[in-house]
Point group: D4
Chain length 249, copies 8
């Protein structure tokens, strides 16, 4: 029976890999904005793969604020959590949610919409042809963390989304390796209201076939950071999906 278990797993994994080497959208980062973006794209029937470095999804949500296991959203964004079934409680004029329930339900909803979430996969580079992004270069997190020298594989996609948060990890790779005419400004200090607003302004295609959303958008454009308020993140994820749908149709 032991080899049967191995066989079942390997067979299904291989089919999945062969089925996902060419996709519509590759989203890098399974945090709040990436999962929301994936949900809206998959709902519209696009082939979406979410690539997450860690073995688990959720990004910076788990620890809530400074380890107190809750996060907040403002009025305008609360429907994006309610849609996936998260319970909210009003404190002053903010809505507070459980920092463990949120990632569980954002991921569940994205999966049920048809997005494929691959965890433990690092995007270490991009495919770039004729000044256009054409996919992602991937490796396993295990190989990266173990410090082994092993070549990557690649996934071709029509669009790539950088949803890697504060580091704008993928945008940095694009900029540093290819001398493109882009600059990663780095996020500014904290100003919650303004940061929330800028986020939407900065969510867009910044290079042919390459979008930024969530904190990566603010980091690229030098926007203010917000702290443990996540409404802008979900709105940014949704907005990003809308812009991609428009482009691909």
């Amino acid at each position: 029976m032991e080899s049967k278990i191995s066989r079942g797993i390997i067979k299904k994994a291989m089919e999945m890999w062969l089925d996902n080497l060419e996709v519509d959208v590759a989203i890098v980062g399974a945090g709040p904005s990436g999962l929301t973006c994936a949900r809206y794209l998959a709902k519209e029937g696009l082939k979406v793969v979410v690539l997450e470095r860690h073995l688990f999804f959720g990004g910076g949500t788990w620890g809530g604020g400074m380890g107190f296991p809750y996060i907040t959203v403002e009025e305008e964004a609360k429907h994006l959590l309610e849609e996936v079934g998260v319970k909210l409680e009003k404190v002053d004029d903010l809505y507070v949610a459980d920092s463990v329930e949120v990632p569980a339900k954002l991921a569940t909803a994205a999966i049920d919409s048809g997005a494929k979430i691959l965890t433990g996969i690092v995007v270490e580079d991009l495919i770039l042809k004729n000044e256009e992004v054409r996919g992602v270069v991937i490796n396993t997190y295990a190989i990266e963390k173990a410090g082994l020298h092993v070549d990557p594989l690649a996934i071709e996609s029509k669009v790539v989304v950088d949803a890697t948060g504060h580091d704008a990890y993928v945008t940095n790779i694009l900029v540093k390796k290819n001398k493109v005419n882009l600059k990663v400004e780095g996020e500014r200090s904290m100003w919650a209201e303004r940061g929330e607003k800028e986020l939407l302004k900065y969510t867009k295609e910044i290079y042919p076939n390459f979008f930024v959303c969530g904190m990566a958008a603010n980091a690229v454009h030098g926007g203010y950071r917000m702290g443990a308020i996540f409404g802008g993140m979900y709105l940014s994820g949704k907005l990003c999906a809308e812009k991609i749908l428009k482009k691909l149709k």
Copy 2:
């Protein structure tokens, strides 16, 4: 607005903490068996808290088998995944599931049943009075990982469940610190069919108010390991819940 965000989070966190210092059941470990056990207990109206060392739930499920992102279950156990909405595919006579979808949906279901999952919390000891377990001694994972010397707090509970997997972490603490008449045998090598069966036999109260389930049960009793087949884990979690319900009623 920044202090309002802080206020909302701290207020809710404090209420939650004060509300969870005395519970019916404290489950240690938010892996496959712990989450299943929590779901069945909370569904029956018990006050259940799940304490997980890492910031995320899911235990050893995420990486599937050797990094191929799928797991297997056998016929008898597949309803326990179907109940929470996980899609299964038959390969030979086993059922294969996505290793990211599974933890998302087991956690979502446990939360919706009313269980409270606290991640980033380490159970570093037990409360033990008159040769009875009476609760858990907790600290944050951040403090543990940072190597800081900081005193713990404690949660009183009627029952404690060790669902920490191969290490049987909590049982080991119980045994090593208190010279109780118990021995942690350590799991044996792999024999999938037999391991799956033993698991149910070994899921039980092994010390007053103290239960073991999942791989911790096999580790305590010297059962065989199973590898990437998880049916026994879910069945064990459910069985453990049933035994606790019987005891507490």
Copy 3:
């Protein structure tokens, strides 16, 4: 009783946190200048919180000079130690004090004046609105040291003081993240007399609502370092308090 201990501690902590989310002055660093500054501010009735990365106060005083457990002060500054009850002994024309007694008594005096010292709290950023500092962004030292990815909280304050020593840690954040028109020069080599004098000259508001004192002041302005003579540090802390009081009244 175990849950009662937890309850007492959590309740008191919650009240304290909710009570300190909006303060007059947030001092970063509980070393010689920060503690002195806090003492003089709190004595005048301001609401003062001191935020210290390490679990303990005292900064670089503990080890004395090269591990010999004593420090020195000159004539002009000795009253600032005598006020808090530190015993001094004259050697040549300097005064020598016990490097363990000094932090104990500076902290005791600051606390008795009404300042709140929070240890184990890292200031990882500032609140910055309309080119004015408006508070601090905080996290726990445990989370930072453990390398966990957890969002911060924030404290709003009328004034922030950088008393973080040689690194001028907070000023560096202000400058690097926001491209303000300020430069952290870095301290120069050692020249004790001159460094002591420059320190007072450089203790001031260097950005709207943002003050530097102690070695951070010299580090920002490129002043000389002094070594194990601390008179200038205490004088700088006091001077900083006087300038803040003037501003806030």
Copy 4:
């Protein structure tokens, strides 16, 4: 002036060292019980040196309970904190104190009573002659932490106190290196009331000229742990002082 600063510090350090090579009591550990013990011994005129591994005193008090910066004491012990000026607040039938104020004031009081606290000093062994403890073997924490191979020095004392907490560090050295007829049982799991009581029973001379107090006493005798309630610690420190005074007079 730079060499004058060096001279003042080195001269004072030399006198201090030469003056402390033969003492009445060497207390290992500047935590709650060690500082209390030192205060009561020094008040009676004994020559007392407290040797603390870390550069700072306070032991495990700083982080309060699980990082919430407060600790508790019960009615019977609250006078021991009030004596040194710590403010207490009643919650239920416990008294809550600020976890930063407590070490500051316990140390201040010990120093003002005449005890010498040396931080950054590791006790790596004992002097042992004719089956009697006769002093401590010391090195610097810097040398230990740096992993350098450097010989220690020694301080002769009439009595040595192990106040090193859960590890009972010095007792373990005594037992492991000399095959004496003693066993370090290790503390048991948590039972706050009983642990508090056992602590006093176990505070005593366990080998000629060698006392244990605080959690080290419970660790040696297999007593229960208490968590973030510190009354027993202060009482144990005081009791230990009383037993030593009786012996030495």
Copy 5:
């Protein structure tokens, strides 16, 4: 083309994995004895897989003796290197070979004989049924080195060979996890002639379907170590193959 490269590699890997889940012999360790054993077994038509923790084969041969890049063999064993094309030079009555050429050619010959060498694969446990070894439990070296908590897969085999060298890694797992009636003695100090001879005596089936060869054989039986003379290793590998062939036919 990028996705084609990925496709070619994944497809071939899948076929290979599915083809190697049930084999005749699983050899653990691609050092001198394991590679020799594999060569002789595969030559006879058995299905053989060699599993090596590191990404490369060769074991301890690469560095020669103390970093001088040569190894020695004695007269009786030199044909085993000559057969694979290694050049030898006589010094006194020993034969010296290049420590880089040796692993290259032993591996080349094993591969050409039909053995499959899988590097970067850790054998973390055995399949054990009814007191018989029935295969190996495997994971990737990347996962192990990265410290990730990921479940293994398994390969079923008729025979398992422990050729892991001094540590007798697999035998230790067998013994420690299953309380079988075997003891790993650990190799003794150096005695080259005698060690070489004992090696052959100790190369055998020590548990149903489980063989040891190379230094693992000496380590299990408490034989003497030999140093940088490798003749016994090759002879042991060959002898092990002969004993397995006899058993399986």
Copy 6:
């Protein structure tokens, strides 16, 4: 016999070292391009030494693509693997090879052509006289990895080849230490076809007596990366050999 083993090894090593202090070509890096280059040079009778940091040859080939143990080559390059006896299998229009067989056979062929491969040797600098490269400065990998401060030795050679892959390690040393008029551009993102072609264009003498081949060539000139397709690497190694032969004859 033990000292005889030592004697045989040391004697042979001494002769080898003394024989290799002056060579025709020193190739840095025993990966795909370095081994191919060495094979073609040695076949023509040149004295060639290959210096490899790790104890083993093979570079980044071992792990295949993302840990799937296969690599690909295109039609034009497949003869370079077939020449050394590697088995290839066609998938679509690419040829797939076993990632363990490839390094074994490339090394075997290079050795049989007469090239000397020295593993565990780090090239930490160059010999540079009158603006010409004249050899390499070497140390052991053990010394480098252990962080010991030990002086290097040197090998004089007519030509040095940088075949160190993505890092272009030796070219970087040349440029950083000597302010020569060269720039290491760093490789660009992935574009497999174009990268393969650029590789040959960039394989050349870039400084008197100093050649680059393999990925180092692309890294120096800012070419595109290719991923797990290796044809260009072998062709580059061969082309480099041809250019050197032309220069030296």
Copy 7:
């Protein structure tokens, strides 16, 4: 000229190695007792090699006592330092010496007597035949510290001396690997006078051809430790030499 430097060094090193593969006495550890022992043995014409793990000689002398750079010797032993030219100063009834001068001059004298000191060489095992020690198994410190898996070489000798200090490193290997009828007791706590005396009693041949001297002698026999007084060490080194001379003549 660069290859000439390499040639000169390699040639001389190889001659030295070939000349030292068979010696009279191999002393492990170049600390106070090992260097003294070597000096007295070489003076009598024996072929002596001293093998020291670190790159430098001197053992634990360099840091003096707790970093104060002086050591002490008593009256009876002072001639052993005076003989090698160390300046001594009397304080009370002890003699104080500079902790840097001492190793410099002990080594100089040993070298001038004809002993060969090899630093950076680890003794990782012994040669052991027919229950007699017959030499040492060596590797480089660089290889050990780098954690590389490289085979050792060996030196045959008539006698081996364990002068490795507190750890009795070589004796432990002898005992642990070969189950000989010896026990390493471990040194006891500090008692300077008694330790000094026991040292001479315990300096002897404890196994055929195997001697212990210096702190290793006390560690093996459970003697008391002495701290920063070194007279016994030099006397032990000399006594050990005398006993070896007697045996070998």
Copy 8:
């Protein structure tokens, strides 16, 4: 007696420290050039202190060339080793010396000339007044390596010599902290003959009261490196002494 040992060591250490707080020359680095410089200066009656980071002297000499324990000198410099009693052997036209004997005898000679060598002392900064170097700022290596935050002490001196080798550690501090008009070029690649010659040209006072010698001189001026030939180092040390003597007289 234990406290007597402590007393003797502390008393002597304190006298030494008080006696060395004002010196003529502070040499940083006890390698080949620093020790030679110290010997020549002390012979002329100057008060010289050598400050060495590591606990031992000798710098990069110990490991010889690539771990082969020998170094070389050329004809012109051999008298500088012969003067201190080092045995030399001619190979081709170079002289080869034992890499352990050399540091032992250079240090012995420096000490006997009256220089004070302090090991385990880090120079972390300079005293700098009115654009003149006036001494060194020191700490212990233990404190630095342990990463403790402890203030330094200082030694005033008329001249400071940077003899720290390739890093030109002290010159870098001078340049980086004080924006003086100096640049540390960094050494170039290897060219032994030319490097040896440049060394003497670059040995000089490069800032008021601040000299460079040995490899630090080449590093500052961008000279070529030499490898394991040390003649230039000794000549540089001597030349530096001559230039200082001229300046101070």
